[in-house]
């Protein structure tokens, strides 16, 4: 069995165990856990962006639209492209973009194509 590490989501203090062979996102999803938003799972859409506050990891290529070189150096990465090599503490910074549906649904405001 692969080496396991403890991942702490600082936003709510929740923890889960993630194998070194799995991305932070894959490890979370495999346990049916939540906390990091799940999008394409392949480094393209940016919704699972996290800030690694402590710990080490291996990373793969991510879309520059969502992770700048500066981000990457500062540990702001996509959870789907990062595999833990130690225990990790992270903060969630990505979120689902408001779709037109969602915006209207939550505000009840009349449809306004330009402001959504």
């Amino acid at each position: 069995m692969a080496t396991m590490h403890t991942i702490t989501i600082q936003d709510d203090g929740s923890e889960y165990r993630c194998a070194e062979t799995r991305s932070l996102l894959e490890g979370m999803e495999a346990l049916g856990r939540e906390g990091i938003p799940v999008g394409c799972r392949n480094g393209g859409c940016g919704v699972c962006k996290v800030e690694i506050r402590s710990g080490s990891y291996a990373r793969r290529v991510m879309s520059r639209e969502h992770v700048t070189e500066e981000d990457e150096v500062a540990g702001r990465v996509l959870a789907c492209r990062v595999k833990p090599t130690s225990d990790i503490r992270l903060r969630v910074i990505g979120k689902m973009k408001a779709s037109v549906c969602h915006t209207v649904e939550t505000t009840g405001a009349p449809a306004s194509p330009q402001s959504t």
């Binding site: 799972r41 392949n42 480094g43 393209g44």
Partner: protein
């Protein structure tokens, strides 16, 4: 029926983050056939029953998403006529000379109000589907992966979907097949357009960012093959978005998933036949969930908002 003007979607050019990984995915999981590579680094693919040289092209880039979506038109005279109609409509067009893409003739490129680059072309080399044109067999043996029939349509996301719809309707002769209305009952949230007898050749959803790709879709022959596609995706640990299930809109059966760079793809089957004397179907705001996923009957945030 008469099929003139714009015939069908011809090629999608999609950006990928890792070329080798993507070639492996599109070859062995999707089961597309690689037909060439060019000096610009683009890799060309075609589907099982397509006769033209390519329908899906990938390019290594630092961002995922779509470079352009192209339609094949009847012939060179039609291309010139449609180019004129686009200019009259106010679109800035550009001619890209034959040969810039492998085995592909002159392309007329323009940008639509939702920010996407769209192309028209009349000529692409007929390389055949491998069965021949005289006394062909019914199928190819020993195919790989999902092995779709053809690249079928795309769903794009952007702000001014009204402007993009009008351009396709007025300058290129597309018809509106289905639409989803927003809560006000007037504004379109999404529209499905066809240039042919299909339920859709291009669809668009209103979104806060321009130029986005929701998915490129590939056609399968049967619902059972949609289930088989999902099995193959799971075997290869591909990131599945949703399905197998059915859409209310177009009535197609479907499974959605993501390529190795997060670009969403669909393999689907079915949908009805469209004729230009038919009136469009409308989905109201309160039933949009069933329109999108007929069995779930509720909105799915990831499906609606995750794009590249």
């Amino acid at each position: 029926m008469a099929m003139t003007g714009v015939l069908r979607p011809g090629h999608a050019v999609v950006r990928v983050l890792d070329l080798d990984e993507s070639v492996d995915f599109y070859t062995n999981v999707m089961g597309l056939k690689e037909t060439g590579r060019d000096k610009a680094g683009r890799v060309y693919f075609k589907c099982n029953d397509e006769r033209d040289h390519n329908s899906f092209v990938i390019r290594k880039a630092d961002k995922s998403g779509i470079d352009c979506f192209a339609f094949k038109v009847l012939n060179k005279a039609t291309l010139a006529t449609l180019e004129g109609q686009l200019k009259e409509h106010g679109a800035a067009t550009e001619r890209i000379p034959a040969g810039e893409m492998l085995e592909t003739g002159d392309r007329v490129r323009f940008r639509v109000p939702t920010g996407h680059a769209i192309e028209l072309y009349a000529e692409k080399t007929d390389v055949g589907n491998g069965l021949g044109y005289v006394n062909p067999e019914a199928m190819l043996e020993n195919t790989r992966g999902i092995n779709p029939v053809r690249m079928d349509h795309a769903l794009i996301y952007g702000g001014d979907i009204d402007g993009t719809r009008k351009l396709f309707e007025e300058a290129l002769g597309f018809s509106l097949v289905e639409r989803v209305k927003m809560e006000d009952g007037k504004t379109d949230l999404a529209t499905w357009l066809t240039c042919s007898h299909k339920a859709h050749d291009l669809a668009m959803v209103r979104h806060q960012e321009d130029g986005k790709l929701h998915h490129v879709s590939f056609m399968l022959d049967t619902w059972e093959q949609v289930l088989r596609a999902a099995d193959i995706l799971s075997i290869h640990r591909v990131s599945i978005d949703i399905g197998p299930t059915r859409h209310g809109i177009t009535r197609g059966t479907t499974v959605y998933f993501f390529d190795p760079s997060g670009n969403r793809l669909e393999t689907f089957c079915g949908g009805y036949q469209w004729y230009p004397d038919m009136q469009p179907t409308t989905w109201t705001w309160d039933e949009v969930g069933a329109g999108i996923f007929y069995h779930d009957r509720k909105l799915n945030e990831r499906f609606l908002s995750v794009v590249t």
